[in-house]
C-alpha cells in the first residue's frame, strides 16, 4: 500500500445486507467507507465526511435517492462529488440512459457519472469506481 490517502466512498442504501456487501467489497479493494441508510442521514454524512464518491440507492425511506441526488447537485460544496447509482429500479424507461436523463431532467442537474444495476457485476462496478476516482 502506498502512503496515499485512501479514497473515501459514501454508501447509501436502506438494505443492511447491501451496505455490508458494498462495504466489504470496497474495503477489500482499498477504499475507505462511510455508510447511511437513508437520504437524510446520507446528506449529513456527505457534509461532514466529504466523500470522494457516492454509491447511491434510489428507493430509500425518509429521503429517496432521487431527492438526495438533486440536493447534492444543488450544494455548491458537494456538487462535484461523482455519484454512481446502484439500483434495482428498472422503471423510467428501463435502461440506464433514460434513468440518468430522468434524474437530471426536473432540476436541470447533470446526470450521475455512473449507473450500476443490482445485482452488481463486481468487476464492472470496481472498474467504474477506479475510472471515476483516477
Amino acid at each position: 500500500m502506498t502512503n496515499e490517502r485512501k479514497r473515501k466512498i459514501l454508501i447509501l442504501d436502506d438494505e443492511p445486507a447491501v451496505v455490508t456487501y458494498l462495504e466489504t467489497l470496497l474495503k477489500d479493494n482499498g477504499y475507505d467507507t462511510v455508510c447511511a441508510g437513508d437520504g437524510k442521514v446520507g446528506m449529513d454524512k456527505a457534509k461532514i465526511d466529504r466523500p470522494d464518491l457516492v454509491c447511491l440507492d434510489i428507493t430509500m425511506p425518509r429521503r429517496s435517492g432521487i431527492r438526495f441526488y438533486r440536493d447534492l447537485r444543488a450544494d455548491p460544496d458537494l456538487k462535484s462529488i461523482p455519484v454512481v447509482v446502484v439500483t434495482a429500479v428498472t422503471g423510467y424507461g428501463g435502461d440506464p440512459e433514460s434513468f440518468k436523463k430522468f434524474l437530471s431532467s426536473r432540476k436541470r442537474v447533470p446526470p450521475p457519472e455512473g449507473f450500476v444495476a443490482k445485482p452488481i457485476d463486481r468487476e464492472e462496478f470496481i472498474a467504474i469506481l477506479r475510472r471515476l476516482l483516477s
Partner: protein
C-alpha cells in the same frame, strides 16, 4: 281524449322497451306486456320467481315483498335466467298499485335488460385485474434483483472472510445468505397468494364489526409504540354484501401502514383513526394518520409492485396492491391524500349498487 288515452295505453303497454308484469300478493303474474312475453316466454298461471329465475319459492331479500309491505317504490339490480337458459341482468322497478282503501293488491315490475352493460362492467373489472397482475409480474423482477444482490453479497462476504481467516466476517456473510433466502421464500409465498387470489366469499357482513375487529387487532401494538389507535364507526352503516376476509385484509394493510408511518415520525401525540360512514349509497372506510406523510416520489409509486419505503424485511410492497385488487373485486375504488410531514388518509369507497352478489346466487343455473 278517451281514444287518445286508450291508444297511448295500448302503445305504451306493448311497445315500451321494458318488460312489464303485474303480480298479486301470491307473486302470481296476472298481466304482462308483449316485451315481457317476448323476453321471458310463457307467464300465465306462473309466479314471478318461476318466470324470472326458475326458482321454486320467492327470492331471498325479495323487493316485491318489501313493496307490498310498505308501499314504497324500489329499484334493484337482479340476475335471472331466460327460457333458453342464458343469464340475463336486469334493472327492475317495483311500483305498488294502491287501492282507494289503501290496500296494496298488486305490484308492477318493470325490468330493463342491462346484460350488455353488466358484461362490459365485468370485462372492465377483469381487464383491470389482469393489468394489475401483469404489472406485478414485471415488478417481481425488481424484488428478486434486490434479494439476489443480498445473496450475492452474502456469498462474497463469506468468501472474503474465509480468505482473511475472519470468522466474524464469515458469520456476517452467512447471516446475509440466510436472511435473503427467508426473504425470497416470503416473496414467493406472497406473490403466489396475490396472483392466485382467493374466491371472494360474498355474504352480508357488518362493516363496522370488521373495522372494530381490525382496530382490536392492532390496539396493543399501537399502545406499545405510543400511538393512539381508535375506531370512528358511522352509526348509519348497515350490512353490505362483501367478502369479510378480503375487507379485513384491506383494513389490516391500511392500518398497519398508518402505524408504520406514525412510528417513523418524530411528532408527539401521534394517532391513527379507522372510520366508516355511508353517504349517497356509498359505503366508505377511511384510515387516517398524522405520521410522516408522503412526498411526490413516494405518492407516485404507492400502488407500484414491491415498492416499499419500510425498513428491510418489514414490507414486501404488495400490501396496497393487494388492497386495490380486493377493492376492485368489490367494484370499489381506493384513493388517498397525503402531505409530507402531516400524514395520510386512505379511503376505500364502495358503491352499494356495484357490490358483488353472493357467489351461490350468481353462479347457480336457474338461480338469479
Amino acid at each position: 281524449m278517451k281514444d287518445i288515452r286508450g291508444f297511448i295505453h295500448r302503445k305504451l303497454w306493448d311497445q315500451v322497451p321494458l318488460a312489464i308484469s303485474i303480480i298479486d300478493r301470491d307473486f302470481r303474474i296476472v298481466e304482462a306486456n308483449r316485451s315481457f312475453s317476448d323476453t321471458y316466454g310463457r307467464w300465465r298461471n306462473r309466479r314471478c320467481y318461476q318466470v324470472y329465475k326458475g326458482l321454486h319459492e320467492h327470492c331471498a331479500r325479495c323487493a316485491a315483498v318489501e313493496t307490498f309491505a310498505d308501499g314504497r317504490i324500489r329499484v334493484k339490480e337482479e340476475a335471472g335466467r331466460l327460457p333458453d337458459g342464458k343469464r340475463i341482468d336486469y334493472l327492475v322497478h317495483m311500483v305498488p298499485i294502491v287501492r282507494s282503501n289503501g290496500e296494496i293488491a298488486y305490484v308492477i315490475e318493470m325490468s330493463t335488460d342491462i346484460t350488455a352493460t353488466k358484461v362490459l362492467e365485468r370485462e372492465k373489472l377483469e381487464a383491470e385485474r389482469l393489468a394489475v397482475v401483469g404489472q406485478t409480474v414485471a415488478g417481481l423482477a425488481h424484488g428478486i434483483k434486490n434479494v439476489l444482490m443480498g445473496l450475492d453479497g452474502g456469498v462474497y462476504v463469506v468468501r472474503s472472510g474465509m480468505q482473511k481467516g475472519d470468522s466474524e466476517r464469515i458469520l456476517q456473510g452467512w447471516q446475509m445468505v440466510e436472511e435473503n433466502i427467508a426473504r425470497i421464500s416470503s416473496f414467493a409465498k406472497e406473490f403466489l397468494e396475490f396472483a392466485r387470489g382467493h374466491t371472494p366469499r360474498v355474504q352480508p357482513i357488518d362493516p363496522n364489526r370488521v373495522a372494530a375487529k381490525v382496530v382490536e387487532l392492532f390496539v396493543e401494538k399501537a399502545r406499545l409504540a405510543g400511538i393512539s389507535l381508535r375506531a370512528k364507526l358511522g352509526p348509519g352503516v348497515s350490512c353490505a354484501m362483501m367478502d369479510e376476509e378480503g375487507i379485513h385484509t384491506c383494513l389490516v394493510n391500511l392500518v398497519s401502514n398508518a402505524l408504520d408511518a406514525c412510528e417513523i415520525s418524530d411528532k408527539p401525540g401521534r394517532k391513527v383513526v379507522l372510520g366508516t360512514h355511508e353517504r349517497a349509497g356509498k359505503l366508505v372506510f377511511e384510515v387516517s394518520d398524522d405520521g410522516t406523510g408522503m412526498d411526490y416520489e413516494v405518492k407516485k409509486r404507492v400502488f407500484t409492485n414491491f415498492f416499499s419505503t419500510k425498513a428491510s424485511g418489514k414490507g414486501t410492497g404488495l400490501g396496497l396492491l393487494t388492497t386495490r385488487k380486493i377493492v376492485q373485486e368489490h367494484g370499489g375504488t381506493v384513493s388517498f391524500r397525503s402531505t409530507r410531514g402531516h400524514g395520510s388518509i386512505f379511503r376505500l369507497v364502495f358503491a352499494r349498487s356495484r357490490l358483488p352478489r353472493p357467489a351461490e346466487e350468481a353462479d347457480q343455473p336457474g338461480n338469479d
